[in-house]
Each structure stands twice: as structure tokens, then as C-alpha cells.
Amino acid sequence: MYAPAVEREIKEVVQEAIEKHGCGRDAFIPILSEINHALGYIPAEAIREVKAQINQDGSFVSQGQLYGLASFYDMLSTQPRGRHVIKFCENAPCHVVGGKAIWDALRETLELENGATTSDNKWTLVTTSCIGLCSVGPVVLIDDDMYGNVTVEQLPEILGQYE
């Protein structure tokens, strides 16, 4: 889904994010979210670019501050991810209705541990905090697609839909 970020792209993505959210302190997290969404992750060059563009505008932010945000919030990633990101909810409500079996099956099928990416860059497997779909647990998110009441038997079919 995500092409490798080239420098020119980064500049444009950052510029668009700043135009949309402004340069105030309350815009920092929305700007980073926007970049993460456009590029799939937040490369170091993007952080340098955000700093440069914001400071040019008279506000002040350091690279350390921005990196601190990118590493703190779960929905932001400082590492490149696979073409598709599988997010598995590992919280208690999904756990008691069969979530563990799904998690074990996912790790086994993809031969991945939590946070890792397959060598062909197709899949990244991560756990996620509760996404509030507890009435249809266990829940798996692939990119922006939600799957509820998932069973181990359904997994091959679900995963098979992605290129």
C-alpha cells in the first residue's frame, strides 16, 4: 500500500499537513498523524522537515520533541511497516471469547512475532488497544478493514483477500 518515501514527497506531505492543521502546539500530534497516514510511518527526514517548516513560521519545536511524540503514541510508527498492517485486539473482552487462539494462529501462519514485518514486506503484525467493537469480539483489523467474530477457520480466507 505504501511506496518508499522519497524526499520530495516528504516535503509535500509535511507542507500539506501543516497547511491543514496550522503551526500551533495543538497541531503537532495531528500533523504527525497525517504524515503517518500518508507515508505509512514517520521517517526521520519527515521529522526534520516538520521542524524546519514549523520553525520557519515563527513557532518553535525541536526534533527531540517531535520524536518523543512519534515514539509515545501507538498509532504513530517510526519504523517502516509492511504493505498491510494486521492489528489484533488482545484485551480481556476479546480474550475471554477466544482471542488467544486467533493470536496464536496469526503468529503461526505468518511466522511473525508482535511488531515484526514479513521479509517480503507484505505483512506487519501488531497488537492494538481496544477499538470498541467488543460486542463482536474477537476483533482483527487489517489496514482500515474490520473483522469481528473471527474464527481460526476464517483466517486463511480473510488474509487471502490482500495482495
Partner: protein, 546 residues
């Protein structure tokens, strides 16, 4: 305006979308065109909160016939039967709800049984949340108009205080009193924040409000702004709730267009603006000072308190932070009065509570009932009983930081005071009902895994405490624990409770405390026999051999 003879409501909440609601919408539109009914019949998207087992649903008005589950392939049949030929499409009719009616005093909503009392969710699921005119037709912004034109800010606070409304985020602090503190705090500039960072696992009541009736929140935030003397408000919504974010964004635009937000609202000199702010994934940001830090573009690390946000909150100005469910009560209270609100619930905890029910029961979903009903009533009446073959072992209330209550406490009324007396916390209103196949050690391990991951790392008792307690419980779950470990856990949680900077570290201890209090025998069995009584925990190899 051209009159329509019928209206179809189609559920398009995330659950329905997963089950093909978008194709269904498309097929319905095509079917209407095929019968040339497109000018006579309207389609609106709604959020179904009652019937998670038969989604997606289609409700056809004026008859209010409920169909579900409806597949895209059923669209033509439905349109042909109901709208073209004018008969009920029998094959698609939703199964009727069973009337159990033990909560006799409640007025049943049309066709919805068992009876609930809906205040917070009054409009959710019954209106088109993307159409402000539909909202206005159902009392939307009436309370804001009344407040701005007939009441002083002090009178507003007085009504809210007299209603006895308590914060629904978990702590149960009196909302009116919080507003009064902000009103009295020194400073020209003040803020209102709606805490929509609903991250407590198992809790999705706020999502239902935000998606099903976003305008009730905007109206309430504006009223809060008038009461405390603020002209700016923020809705901080967790990053995971994309659907709710877009609904709110749309609602804010509409409210501005209709003059319910912006300058000179209702032709008074009251101005109010609402900013929508999305989080980026951090449980700790549900804590009010961490949330404020996050809006200010910082890591979500809670501030030491005092000073409290009511005196020094966002940008160091006096700020009231209120939960979504709390705010959703406000317009109804101001329309109907404090007396009316007090007629629901118990004297010490007036009003209703929205619960999310899940686990090994026959119905999972959202209900709104008066404060003070018991767990037994929730399970037997609203959850339609335990799943076949399941026996209640325990329930977990209020997400990860809530209490684990054993089956023996199922008759304690669920309100703030009774729960406090019984030593349990009501929390956010999530009710995870677990049967005999649930292992307490395994469950607590999952909860501690959550806390050690979500601890922000700022203060040592929480950062190290959540990690160490996880390691101990993990050892016990593998049959490698020692009896002394239980004493270590007791000491550890006492320290965490006393010394942690915020609620996260303090409440991370609750599952451990409840495990040792109510299920000690089961924990000791793991240690003494090296086996798990329920067969859930995987024992380490060496222990199995010996």
C-alpha cells in the same frame, strides 16, 4: 418541499458495515430506482444499538417495521414487497424481542423490550445523526436556547448540581460542583473539554453516543461553556474512532451553519467555538491531565495534582473536563429539571447508566438503565442469560481498571455508593461476564499485560510496578510461582496505590487485589499443584515433568 411517503433507516455502524451494509445501501437504491420509487422513499443511515445479532437492519417507516439481518441480495425483494406491493416482507422480519418485564416501572420504548430508560441514548439509533434538522425535530438544541435566553450561568450550575449528576468516567465526582469550581476560578479565559478518549477495554458506550447522536455532545459542551464562562471547547476523541470523528466533524459544520455554534448564538452575546482533536493511541490520555498535555502537543504524561484542571488546566487556564456520557445527560436535565432527573436511579446516584455487556452471555451490546440495578438483573434480563452450558463465575466491571466481582456479589445494587461500600468500583460501565471456563490467573495476566504496556513510564511505582506484577503473575500462570509471591504482590500493590502519580498506576492494582481477595484458592492451586484448575494456563515444561 416534496413529500415522501416512506422512509427507510439502514444501519451503517461499523458492525453493520462489516456485514455488508454499504452494498445493501447500494442495492436498496437500485431497487427503488427499478420500481421508480426514488422520489417517494427516503433512505437514511442510522446506528443500531439494540440488535447486534441481526445486523444490518432496515427499519421502514411509517409502519416502523424492523427487518434484519438484510443482505444486499434481499434488497429487491424488500422493496418490491413492502414499498411496491405494500405488504410486509415476511421472510426478512426481525425476530420479536422477548418481553421479560421484571423492571416493571420502566416505560418500554416502542417495540423495544426489555424496557430501558433512555436519557443519554434517547436519540441514538432513532434519528439520522448526519441531519441536524432531524435532531432539532427531536428537541436538539432546545436546552441550549433555553439556557442562553432564560437562565444565568449560576442557575444552570444550580440545576446541574441539584440533579445530583455524577461524572460517568468512573470517579463519580459531582458535575455541578466541578463547573462551580471553574466558574469561581480566577481568570478571563477558561476552557471546556469533552473527554471522548474512551479507551477502557470493553467500553464502547461513548462511541455509540458520538456516532449515534453527535449533536447532543456539541449542545452540552456549549452549555458547559456558558455555565463556566468559557468561549472555547475541545472534544478530544481517541484516534481509533475514525467513524465517530467524521460524524462529529460534520455535526460541528452543521451546528455552525445553523448558528448553534460560533458568534452570537441565539442572538445573545454568547460566542462559542468547538475544536475537534484526535488522539494518536494512548490509554493514559483518558486521564484528564494527560489528555490536556496531549492537546498541548506533548507526550500524554499526567501532571502532578494539585493544581487541578479546574484552576490550572489547558494552557494553564481553568478547565472543566467531562466525560461523553456525563455531558449527554446535560441537555435533558436542563429541559426537564433536576427533580425529573432525580426520579431515576437511587438517592445517592441519580439518573441512568449506560452499560456495555459482553462475554459468555446470549446478548452483547449496549443498554441504558437506572442506576442501582443488580448484576443478576443485567444478566438474566438484558443479557438474555448465560450462554448454554455457561455458569457465572465472575464479572469484570468498568474495563481493565474496574473490579473483578465474584458471582456471590451479583445482588449488590450497581450504584456508586453501594459499590463503594462493597469495595468494588463501577468504573466506566463495561460488564464483562465470564463463565466457569475463565481462569482468574490468566485473566489478571491479560489485564496486567495491558497496564504494563500502557503505563506512560513517567513515575517509577507504576512503570516498574506494572512490569514486576506482570512477571509474578506470569510465573504463577506457568506453575512456577511460590506462595511468597502472593505476599510480594500484596506489598507491591500497596506501594503502587500509595505512590503512583495518577489513576493508571493506582487502579492497575485493582485486578490483583480482587484476585487475592476473592479467588485466592484458585491462585494457590496454580502454585501448590502446578496445574490450572480450569485448564486454561499453559504450564511450563519442567513443572509438568516433576
Amino acid at each position: 418541499m416534496k413529500t415522501k411517503r416512506a422512509m427507510m433507516l439502514v444501519s451503517t455502524d461499523p458492525e453493520s458495515m462489516r456485514l455488508g451494509a454499504s452494498d445493501l445501501l447500494k442495492s436498496l437504491k437500485e431497487a427503488l430506482e427499478a420500481y421508480q420509487l426514488q422520489d417517494e422513499v427516503d433512505i437514511a443511515e442510522i446506528q443500531d444499538i439494540e440488535r447486534t445479532n441481526i445486523l444490518p437492519i432496515v427499519v421502514v417507516y411509517p409502519e416502523a417495521t424492523v427487518y434484519g439481518p438484510v443482505k444486499p441480495g434481499d434488497a429487491r425483494y424488500l422493496v418490491e414487497e413492502h414499498l411496491y406491493k405494500g405488504r410486509v416482507a415476511e421472510d426478512l422480519l426481525a425476530p420479536p424481542k422477548q418481553l421479560t418485564g421484571q423492571i416493571g416501572s420502566l416505560r418500554a420504548h416502542r417495540g423495544y423490550n426489555p424496557a430501558e430508560q433512555r436519557i443519554v441514548l434517547e436519540r441514538a439509533g432513532r434519528i439520522d445523526p448526519e441531519n441536524i434538522e432531524d435532531v432539532i425535530a427531536h428537541n436538539g438544541y432546545e436546552a441550549l436556547g433555553k439556557v442562553l435566553t432564560e437562565m444565568t450561568p449560576e442557575q444552570v450550575i444550580d440545576v446541574v448540581e441539584k440533579s445530583g449528576l455524577q461524572g460517568r468516567g468512573g470517579a463519580g465526582f459531582l458535575t455541578g460542583r466541578k463547573w462551580k469550581f471553574v466558574r469561581m476560578a480566577k481568570g478571563e479565559k477558561k476552557y471546556v473539554i469533552c473527554n471522548a478518549d474512551e479507551s477502557e477495554p470493553g467500553t464502547f458506550k461513548d462511541r455509540i453516543v458520538l456516532e449515534g447522536d453527535p449533536h447532543v455532545i456539541l449542545e452540552a459542551v456549549a452549555i458547559a461553556g456558558y455555565a463556566v464562562g468559557a468561549d472555547e471547547g475541545y472534544v478530544y476523541i481517541r484516534g481509533e474512532y475514525g467513524h465517530a470523528y467524521r460524524r462529529l466533524q460534520h455535526a460541528i459544520e452543521q451546528a455552525e451553519e445553523f448558528g448553534f455554534l460560533g458568534r452570537n448564538i441565539f442572538n445573545t452575546n454568547f460566542n462559542f467555538h468547538i475544536h475537534l482533536h484526535a488522539g494518536a493511541g494512548a490509554y493514559v490520555c483518558g486521564e484528564e491531565t494527560a489528555l490536556i498535555e496531549s492537546i498541548e502537543g506533548k507526550r500524554g504524561e499526567p501532571r502532578p495534582r494539585p493544581p487541578y484542571p479546574v484552576t490550572r488546566g489547558l494552557w494553564n487556564r481553568p478547565t472543566t473536563v467531562n466525560n461523553v456520557e456525563t455531558l449527554a445527560n446535560i441537555p435533558a436535565i436542563l429541559r426537564n429539571g433536576a427533580e425529573w432527573y432525580r426520579s431515576f436511579g437511587t438517592p445517592s446516584s441519580p439518573g441512568t447508566k449506560v452499560y456495555t455487556i459482553m462475554g459468555n452471555v446470549n446478548f452483547s451490546g449496549v443498554i441504558e438503565v437506572p442506576m442501582g440495578i443488580t448484576l443478576r438483573e443485567v444478566i438474566n434480563i438484558y443479557a438474555k442469560g448465560m450462554k448454554p452450558g455457561s455458569v457465572l463465575k465472575l464479572a469484570q466491571t468498568g474495563g481493565s481498571s474496574g473490579s473483578i466481582i465474584p458471582a456471590s456479589l451479583r445482588d449488590v445494587p450497581m450504584d456508586f455508593e453501594s459499590f463503594r461500600k462493597a469495595g468494588v468500583s463501577l468504573g466506566s460501565g463495561a460488564l464483562l461476564i465470564c463463565d466457569q471456563h475463565t481462569c482468574i490467573v490468566d485473566l489478571v495476566k491479560v489485564l496486567l499485560q495491558f497496564f504494563r504496556f500502557e503505563s506512560c513510564g513517567k513515575c517509577t511505582p507504576c512503570r516498574v510496578g506494572t512490569q514486576r506484577s506482570y512477571e509474578i503473575v506470569d510465573r504463577i500462570s506457568k506453575g512456577q510461582g511460590k506462595l511468597e509471591d502472593l505476599d510480594t504482590l500484596q506489598t507491591l500493590i500497596a506501594e503502587m496505590e500509595r505512590a503512583s502519580n495518577c489513576g493508571l498506576g493506582q487502579t492497575a492494582t485493582v485486578p490483583i487485589r480482587d484476585m487475592l481477595r476473592h479467588f485466592r484458592t484458585e491462585v494457590e492451586a496454580h502454585i501448590r499443584t502446578g496445574s490450572c484448575p480450569t485448564g486454561v494456563c499453559e504450564m511450563a515444561f519442567e513443572k509438568m515433568e516433576s
